[in-house]
Symmetry: C2
Subunit: 224 residues, 2 copies
DNA sequence: TTTTAATGATAGTAATACTATCATATTTAA
DNA sequence: TTAAATATGATAGTATTACTATCATTAAAA
C-alpha cells in the first residue's frame, strides 16, 4: 500500500506556506533529514541553504527562525499520527483494541510503509523522539501557544483522551494519560537506545516498548 | 528545620571543582538563578560572568561549555532527590507508603524548607522541569554517557526501581516505571502550568499531580 | 620568601542568527 | 502583450555567541 497524504497546517508557524512551492517543500524535506542527522542544536540555516542549493535569505522568507521549523515538523508528526489513529480505530469497536492500536501507531517500526508527503519517515521519527519536547520546552511557550502552534498536539491528546473516556468513564485523568503516553513512547524509546539503565527493555524492540506502554495505560485505566 | 547538605559530584562534568572555591560556588548559584530566569537557550557565559562580577575566562576554567553546567545542575538535583528519598523511606516499612513518599518528594511545594548548598530551591525545580531533559536529549549523549555524567540519574532510578520490585516482585518494568515517574512528574507539572489542555489538573496543585502519578505507578504495579 | 595556582584583563576568531538591499527571473493580471 | 506583482538569488553587514590564547596581577602554599 502506498497512500499519499498531504496535511495542511493552518497557523502562524510559517511566514510563507512551504507546501505552496517546490523550494518550500525542499526546505521541509531537507530540514527533516538534517535535524535528525545533526541534532537540533547543530542544525543551521546556512547548512540547510547549502543542502537545498539556495540561500539563507530564501529560508528566512518561509520561517522566522529554526525553532519554528522544528515546531512545524512536530505539527506534521502530530497531525500525521492523528490521521493514522482516526483511520485505524474507525473500524474497531472494542475500546481495548482501539487503545492497543493507538499504542501500536505511536511506536514506529523501522519500515513505515505509508508514504506521507514524501518525507523520510525514520528521520521524522528520530526527530520527534530526540527533539520533540524542545518544541514546547522553551521560554517562548506562552507566546507560541497564543499563536495556536500546539493545536495539533492538543487535538491528538483530546482524541486519545476521548477513547480512554469511553473505556473507563470514571477515569479522571484522560488527557494527562494521553499526553503521558505520547511523551513516554518517545522517552522510553530514547532510554532503551541511549541510556539503557533507565529502562528495562533489553531487546530494544518496538514490541517490548508497546507492552510496557500497555501496562501503563491499562494499569491506570483499570486502577482500583 | 534547616538542614545543611553538601553533595560532592565525582566525574568529568567540570574542569575544576566549583565546590572548591568561592567563585566556583557563585558560578553554580548564579547559573541556577539565571537559567531558570532566562531559559537555557538565552543563558550565556557573558551574562553569567556579569552576574558573578567576573570574566568569561574564569568560567571556562570551571566548565567546558554551558551544557556541562546544565548537566552539573541536573546532577545536583538527581543526587539531592536520591538523598532525600533514602533518608525519608528508611523509617517506613510499608512499601505502598514508601512509594507515596517518593512521589511526594518528586513533586515540590513552593516552600521547600530544606536548604541545600544555599541554592535557590524554586529555581532549581524550575530548571529540572523545563530544561532537565535537554541535559540528555542531545547528539552528545553517547559521549557524555561514557564520561559517566548521568550516573546520579541512573542511581536514583535504580533505587526507586528497587522499591517497586519489593512492592511487586513480578513486575518486569521497574526501571522504566521509575524513569517514567521522574519524567512525568516534570512534564505533567509543565503541562498543567503552560499547556493545560494536555493535562487534567485544573487546580494546578502539587497534590493533584501526586494523585495522578499515584494512579500511574500503582496502576502499573498492581496491573492484572 | 619563593614558587605555584587562581583570577582578571584583554584580544582575537569563527560561526550563528539575523536584517537589508538590489538585481533578476517568473508568474499573474490588465 | 505589456506592466505589475511576486519569488528568488546574490551580496553585504551587524550583533552576539562560543570559544582560544596571552600576559599581568594577586593570593595561597611550600
Amino acid at each position: 500500500m502506498a497512500l499519499e497524504v498531504v496535511l495542511k497546517l493552518e497557523n502562524s508557524t510559517y511566514l510563507k506556506d512551504p507546501q505552496g512551492s517546490e523550494i518550500g517543500k525542499k526546505i521541509i524535506k531537507s530540514s527533516i533529514v538534517l535535524i535528525s542527522e545533526l541534532g537540533y542544536e547543530h542544525f543551521t540555516f546556512k547548512k540547510l541553504a547549502f543542502e537545498i542549493k539556495s540561500t539563507e535569505a530564501t529560508i528566512y522568507r518561509y520561517f522566522e527562525n529554526k525553532h519554528k521549523i522544528l515546531v512545524y515538523i512536530m505539527e506534521l508528526y502530530w497531525s500525521y499520527i492523528h490521521l493514522q489513529v482516526l483511520m485505524a480505530i474507525r473500524e474497531i469497536n472494542d475500546t481495548h483494541k482501539k487503545i492497543e492500536k493507538i499504542i501500536d501507531l505511536l511506536v514506529w517500526e523501522d519500515n513505515q510503509d505509508v508514504s506521507f508527503g514524501g518525507y523520510d519517515q525514520s528521520s521524522l521519527y528520530k526527530i520527534c523522539i530526540t527533539e520533540g519536547s524542545k518544541a514546547f520546552l522553551s521560554k517562548e511557550v506562552e507566546s507560541l501557544n497564543k499563536q495556536k502552534l500546539f493545536e495539533p498536539y492538543k487535538e491528538l491528546v483530546e482524541m486519545i483522551a476521548a477513547v480512554f473516556k469511553v473505556h473507563n468513564p470514571d477515569f479522571k485523568y484522560c488527557r494527562s494519560l494521553a499526553s503521558s503516553l505520547i511523551e513516554l513512547s518517545h522517552f522510553q524509546y530514547y532510554f532503551m537506545h541511549h541510556l539503557p539503565r533507565l529502562a528495562d527493555l533489553p531487546e530494544k524492540t518496538p514490541k517490548s516498548l508497546e507492552i510496557y506502554l500497555s501496562h501503563i495505560v491499562f494499569g491506570a485505566l483499570n486502577f482500583r
